[in-house]
Symmetry: C2
Amino acid sequence: MTQVTVPTASAPELPEDGITAPAAVDVAALGSHLLGNWADIRRQARELAGRPEVQGIDGLTMTEHRERVSSQLKYLVDSGAVHRAFPKYLGGEDNHGGNIAGFEELVVADPSLQIKAGVQWGLFGSAVLHLGTKEHHDKWLPGIMNMDIPGAFAMTETGHGSDVASIGTTATYDRQSQEFVLHTPFRAAWKDYLGNAAKDGLAAVVFAHLITRGVDHGVHAFFVPIRDEQRNFLPGVGGEDDGLKGGLNGVDNGRLHFDHVRIPRTNLLNRYGDVAADGTYSSPIASPGRRFFTMLGTLVQGRVSLDGAAVAASKVALSIAIKYANERRQFNAASETTEEVLLDYQRHQRRLLPRLATTYAASFAHEELLEQFDGVFSGTHDTDEDRQDLETLAAALKSLSTWHALDTIQECREACGGAGFLAENRLPSLHADLDVYATFEGDNNVLLQLVAKRLLADYAKEFRHADFGVMARWVAHKAADATLHRTGLRQVAQTFVDSGSGKKSANYLKDENTQRQLLTERVSAMVKEAGNALRSASRMPQADAAALFNEHQNELIEAARAHAELLQWEAFTRALPGIEDRDTRQVLTWVRDLFGLGLVEKNLGWYLMNGRLSAQRARTLGDYINRLLARLRPFSLDLVDAFGYGPEHLRAKIASGAEGMRQEEAMAYARTRRASGEAPVDEKILIARQKAAAKREKRRAAAGN
Amino acid sequence: MTQVTVPTASAPELPEDGITAPAAVDVAALGSHLLGNWADIRRQARELAGRPEVQGIDGLTMTEHRERVSSQLKYLVDSGAVHRAFPKYLGGEDNHGGNIAGFEELVVADPSLQIKAGVQWGLFGSAVLHLGTKEHHDKWLPGIMNMDIPGAFAMTETGHGSDVASIGTTATYDRQSQEFVLHTPFRAAWKDYLGNAAKDGLAAVVFAHLITRGVDHGVHAFFVPIRDEQRNFLPGVGGEDDGLKGGLNGVDNGRLHFDHVRIPRTNLLNRYGDVAADGTYSSPIASPGRRFFTMLGTLVQGRVSLDGAAVAASKVALSIAIKYANERRQFNAASETTEEVLLDYQRHQRRLLPRLATTYAASFAHEELLEQFDGVFSGTHDTDEDRQDLETLAAALKSLSTWHALDTIQECREACGGAGFLAENRLPSLHADLDVYATFEGDNNVLLQLVAKRLLADYAKEFRHADFGVMARWVAHKAADATLHRTGLRQVAQTFVDSGSGKKSANYLKDENTQRQLLTERVSAMVKEAGNALRSASRMPQADAAALFNEHQNELIEAARAHAELLQWEAFTRALPGIEDRDTRQVLTWVRDLFGLGLVEKNLGWYLMNGRLSAQRARTLGDYINRLLARLRPFSLDLVDAFGYGPEHLRAKIASGAEGMRQEEAMAYARTRRASGEAPVDEKILIARQKAAAKREKRRAAAGN
């Protein structure tokens, strides 16, 4: 509970529904609520991230930064901070959700450290853990865990990023020697952008098409030593440094290529596909397509943790900008002597508070994603449907939250003016480092298209020949399983057409059911429209079908975005009853309304065009949002304080209270001067006085006549 | 005229209005048209910017980068590239428009170089030129021009950025010694973010409140020596280095403060205000307010040149991303053997082509701004109204183009995937450097508010008691002066309500008059609405008036944005008839339509809510835009080639043709392998064959029964 600057320009009104205006936010309780299921691990991780030893230093050269991060990895090992997901018998905790919760907080120390750790333990180590079997675990995991074997995750190629199935690297089984021969057939098949590849990696998990007995069994993963102890490439292995990047320069990204490099047959990570000594291929999953997606599915934690890291980075940026906006004053408006506090300007509220609301939504949604992830990886909820839901949810949320982080950091940077551009105020490096989160572990547009395809598939399954009765039954069915963690297409029971009365518009708009209906209806209508348009595609030649799909690609991706936003809104709404303090719950409900109505405002054209909102009602929406902003403004500091990031995490001079002190000093100087009578007279005032005197003189002269 | 990859997925249709589909764009002619009035100077400047000597090098430390840029400034002097605005008698050319045209192209070499040059000659030198008088010119300009006197432009303070009138530094006249005493009374009054202040500056033009005989005459500019020849601060002067920034690290930004520093009376740059030996103040401009704005107005060229630089940076980014998107292939869709070219995806078109259209609009608008600027500064069009129009236009366009550059560079970076994040592909540093353009030389939000106030003032002047007859006369009057370079509020002759027939929607939407009416009507309706809401403010106490204004701040700023977009659209439309080649003009007309209709789509909610567009018509808009994208796609390379930036300007490996060669190599490999019969069989195909064989066997067995 922070002291609140009373806004001068736009005082919050009393809510019109007779609710007593909330007095305060219970920051501590809200903070605990936000920490979620793995609160203790998050607290430990934040304590760690607050130590200068693990933090980034601005202005290091790439070489220095890489060295610093490499040595920090060993510090993480010694701190016991990064092994939670590994098996207990090897010193881990078999704790998958907790592992991610802790890992994603590293972004607050230095995103380079987070990503380098993610490469080592989240990608390279995870691939050995999830795609390998016991023999591999025993042989390599201890060295991976303790950093004896730094390794690269060699999936992406220069020619293929998000389309992993099309990579060009091959691993051809040689029966004679019982070896796989790894080969890079052309330049586009070089592995690229791999952390640990430019400098530190001694080994790599290499993804390649497994070929045995003349059959290509699709992409599999192989454990491949790449450097000797002197860090020289082993025979047949070559590579390049990716060099300087837009950010994350503590990670040594690089390229690798293989010229008929031979590895033992048993280096195939063989959980989902194996080759016997005689070259016979076998797999527990008969369908090559399903096998491929199962293998890739084990790596979903990358997306899950990027989602969490993006949310954490957004929280840091907003904490900085909102603290500053509560102290910084600029321009006189309400008074000639006191300038306005930035956050009292409606425009400044419009810039920061909706992004704060989205960050809350993304935070609650991430917590649900983490639960879903833990359910699948711990085996407690591990059906095929669970896994598919997890992948859809991760793709949907990672796209939105990484874009949101970039947008938010940029707006925060601008909202802090020139100060926001200084490295000492943190925001520039945060943007530079987070930038690539939007395209790695799956390009956001590609991920949203995956989500769209899932929505289309649901639509095809449920509605292809649906009349209204079927739809209603489906809705009832969906409602019955409470929709928690269900990410597929949802539908409201009936098409919803706004009757359009302008009366009680505010009550109407803030109603939870209204918001749910508006958001849900948009998703289902968009999917339905696209689904109907694409219905004929299945009977078309491939090129025509592709062209038809392409004509609807943009609207499909927008439908997926709308779906992901709905998931965030639902997660936020589900989190509200868990807030026990009444005042806090009221404030958070306003934050949720701001998020939900902001989505409606953003897509107002759609709602009007499709008769879901009357023009009359639509005209009240902007005003209502402005009123929400004014109501929330006094709680803005509480709402960022609840994120729980201290000065050791924010590390921004302008968020340290220095600005407030400068303002105090300047105002005290002005007060003293005015009181002393020594202040010079403003020329404008002098002129006004002279004019008044001249007028008086004129009047006197006239009276004297 | 480049060879065009024929799109496979969405072939452009014939325009439905019977126009023959354009065959080609005359790239050379379009390029010349874009170069504008000062084409030769632009060509010279681009030749210069293409030299490695003036270009940035990635990965330099801050110290190295600063040294490199400092020495590059001397190279610019030797190249005779930066003195065009200075007086002929001192070796300049008195060419104001041409000077900016040349200067803004420096951004293509290195934005740090552009900004450092801008500090030295555009701000520091310009202040001496425009605020000083002949004595000052003779004394200091030669040294400023040849870099003997590197200097800072000390306007901004830690406590005050865009609100210059409120700075705290004072310059008090001491009659005894005939000196001004410069003083920084508190920490917030330190000068901050000043280029040349951290390291190189020997002098500064310092803005301070001029106080003489007990009267504060407002902000004036003073020439103040700050360092001796050994680069040590002179007595009473102190400062700090701003240190590392998010970008522009070749510029040595820093802070300055003054402890009763004495300078001769004649160091006051006294064109608009002077102090006699006895302390008497005099000015050719009686009103302190008008005097202040006149002084600041001389510095509008900063905004003008940032507008041009932002447009240039957007062109570079789009050239890189669109060249790459024409070569890069990803995912199979229309065929199993050939992947799709990125720009054939509708989504990719949606990401890049509307931004290309906006860049064209911003480019044509900038050229008009430059003409307006040249008219005012050369004295050929230099009325008060001309100056006010120039300031409004500069504020409006600079805001939009600097934001647009950031948005465009970011989208281009993401559209190039992981490659876009590598320094070798240029986009990351372009974003980092351009970032601060959105907040310096006037924060964009503050600038748009200035524009809004101008619109409100126009509205108040013209419409306060207006009936329809007055409005019609005003429109006629405005139409008579052709609206070229008039930036104030414009109004269409009658309120425009869409009658809503869905027929011929495409013809309706692409009609120039429709677009003009839709865009114009939105601006005037928004201003009118806000103006009416604020009408009572003038009779309110200050605090109440401020609160009322604040309640409408966001919509006012949005109105200003709509106005600025309209100005861009008008400039684009005015540029079309100048394109002589019929096909080229047709293509550019589509680009203009894409820009105009994109603005309508972005604000569709407003148009529907206010009855300006029928729901039926609105529903056709998205499809029509998609069709425009497909039509423009084959000309995308031509449209960026016309920008005229060569490899020496783009300096991005992915835009060098390397990607196309890699694709060719990979495809050739696949072809050879298929032809050889040695390619392994895909397991999926094998399974399909086995299933078919099993089916045949079963049938055979059944037949045998």
